[in-house]
């Protein structure tokens, strides 16, 4: 029982990182109807930015600075590569983001080099006891920070002018345009927000074990999360992210014992199995809106 609860806490911690990434995917999807495959590169760039800034400014200032830097980078990408493609098929834009991902990652990899870069975070692998449970501090930090960010984000969408503009543009672009909403600004804002969230997620991915060139793969686990929750549901992204985190953590703890025939490291691919099973039952995810099409 104790082991199970500790596994769940680890799952919630990792799951909140996936949730942050998934929120970025969903925000961009809602604004532009495109899945941005550039998120892994932005995440990695965020982590690397933190690892360099931490030597200059200290950890607590490095994180917001890095997040802002990556938000600016995302803005630049949107302006240069995505904005000229407005009105073109979504598949084309998605493939462009794939190209952006490849390019940005090579540049970021050059900054990483062969070694593992440390975040200089205060948590490391330190443990803390919650009653009878002994869990790593970083899981709690991930969950707490994500909870705060998600609350802020939902408040932003609910109560501010810009949030309203984004919701309006997501609901119906042309009508929003007719009401004076700058759809271009909404596109830019969605990319900046996604970049910001990806950078924070990247920092958390690097806590403890640090980042290396292969860390970008982790960001792709947010894809099963958004498919699970539904591509256009913010709440779904959070639920999907946490679910994927918990499933992965359960496989990590128990698969070696109960299903060794699945092979080592099966936990790494378990999110994709969950995604395939969910799609067989619900093609639009748990909370996604069903598309109604007229010919």
């Amino acid at each position: 029982m104790k082991g199970l609860l500790e596994t769940l806490v680890r799952g919630l911690g990792n799951g909140s990182v996936y949730a942050l990434l998934a929120l970025g995917f969903v925000i961009i999807y809602k604004a532009t109807r495109v899945i941005s495959f550039a998120q892994p590169a932005l995440m990695l760039a965020g982590a690397v930015a933190v690892s360099y800034l931490v030597e200059v400014t200290g950890f607590w200032l490095a994180v917001p600075l890095a997040a802002l830097m990556i938000a600016l980078l995302a803005l630049g990408i949107e302006r240069v590569c995505i904005r000229p493609m407005v009105g073109r098929p979504v598949f084309v834009v998605a493939i462009i983001t794939l190209g952006v991902d490849v390019v940005v990652r090579v540049v970021v990899n050059a900054f990483i080099g062969r070694d593992v870069r440390q975040m200089g975070d205060p948590w490391g692998f330190d443990q803390v006891s919650l009653g009878p449970l002994v869990v790593q501090q970083r899981w709690l930090a991930m969950f707490g920070v994500t909870a705060v960010l998600v609350a802020l984000l939902f408040a932003f969408f609910r109560y501010t002018r810009y949030g309203l503009a984004m919701r309006a543009a997501a609901y119906d672009q042309e009508t929003a345009l007719a009401q004076g909403v700058s759809v271009g600004a909404v596109f830019a804002m969605s990319w900046a927000l996604a970049g910001f969230l990806a950078a924070i997620a990247g920092m958390f991915v690097g806590t403890g074990q640090g980042v290396e060139q292969t860390s970008w793969i982790i960001a792709l686990k947010a894809l099963p999360a958004i498919i699970l929750g539904g591509l256009d549901s913010l709440g779904g992204a959070v639920v999907g992210g946490l679910t994927i985190g918990i499933v992965e953590s359960l496989f990590q703890s128990y698969q070696g014992e109960y299903a060794p025939w699945l092979g080592q490291n099966f936990a790494v691919v378990s999110p994709y199995v969950v995604m395939l099973l969910v799609l067989l039952v619900r093609p639009y995810g748990l909370f996604g809106t069903r598309e109604v099409e007229r010919v």
């Binding site: 598949f91 190209g99 199995v273 995604m275």
Partner: protein, 382 residues
Amino acid sequence: MTVARDIPTSRSRARRVRGRPLLYTSYAQDMALLDTTAKRAWTFVLVVLAFSLAAILQDRSLEVLAGAYVMAIGAIGLNIVSGYAGQISLGHAFFVAIGAYTAAALSGPVDGRTIGFGLAEIWIWLPAAGVVAAVFGVIVAPLAARLRGLYLAVVTLGLVFLGEHVFKEWKSLTGGPGVGREAAVPELFGIRLNEDGPLGTGEQTMYVLTLALLIVFALAARNLARSRIGRAFAAIRDRDIAAEVMGVPLTRYKVLAFGISSFYAGCAGALLYSITGYVEPGSFSLLLSVQFIAMVLIGGVATVSGSIMGALFIVLIQPLTRSLPALLPVISSDTTVTPNVYQVETVLYGLLIILFLVFEPRGLFGIWIRARTYWKSWPFSY
């Protein structure tokens, strides 16, 4: 009732009018693959030239070109499912892997370290690789029938990761990551094709073999595209619901598209590694899928000749970037120094995808069409 002589029916084989190359008098003429004399002549010249390269070029260049031809077969396969039928697949590397391992297992030594059945004849393992890959394609396709657009892209992406995991773990088949196994042995009626023999050096025979196979696969794809099936694919791509309303069974044709595309991918996988003779499970990653997508997009979506051009372009970038350090001393060929050739190469893939999509969505094929129209309408080209 008699049909007027100057109105040809679909059955009549109307003759071409002399001096009027653009006047078609029957549907068959309109659909012909090589509809003008110039096309016929130039295609003939191109094919003869391609075959004669086997005697002209050095063995190293022939090996690179043979690899490019095999990649072109794979790219044509991806173009069938993504270009003609409009079903976005990021999972092409998975089907390539299945083909490669089916062929390797069939032709491998019986008592070796990895699974092998000792059937080294190419006419056994090549179709088998295609068929096994096609079966997997058909298994995956029902998912595709339920999903559309980017949902499908993400699912096929998941397929690549699952496949990579299975191939890394199934050590008796693949040899495990970092170790690998010997690839399919190309043998035709007892003659090893990739070793020097009576037909020429190993590279020369493999070059001729891959070129001949590419022509067969390309012709098959062109014919498929102008058949009933090809038209159904195009209808699904342009508007799937409208296609269904017009009586195109969506599920059946999506399954067919995935099956045919995977057959091409499987054959490409089997051949690709029989050239180098060695296959490692780490090579079937997302990057391979991205390479195939780059070939299709750079070459030209929904064109067979575009896929071939794209594959040649992407594969021939490699020797070009490898020669960069000699020209630009800033770029190093050492992987531990930061601006090295591998980084330049990967950045080029990405940049080329972006630039072609932004500036020339029809790809190399589009550039060719534009150049041709310019000279055709010269001196009145604007």
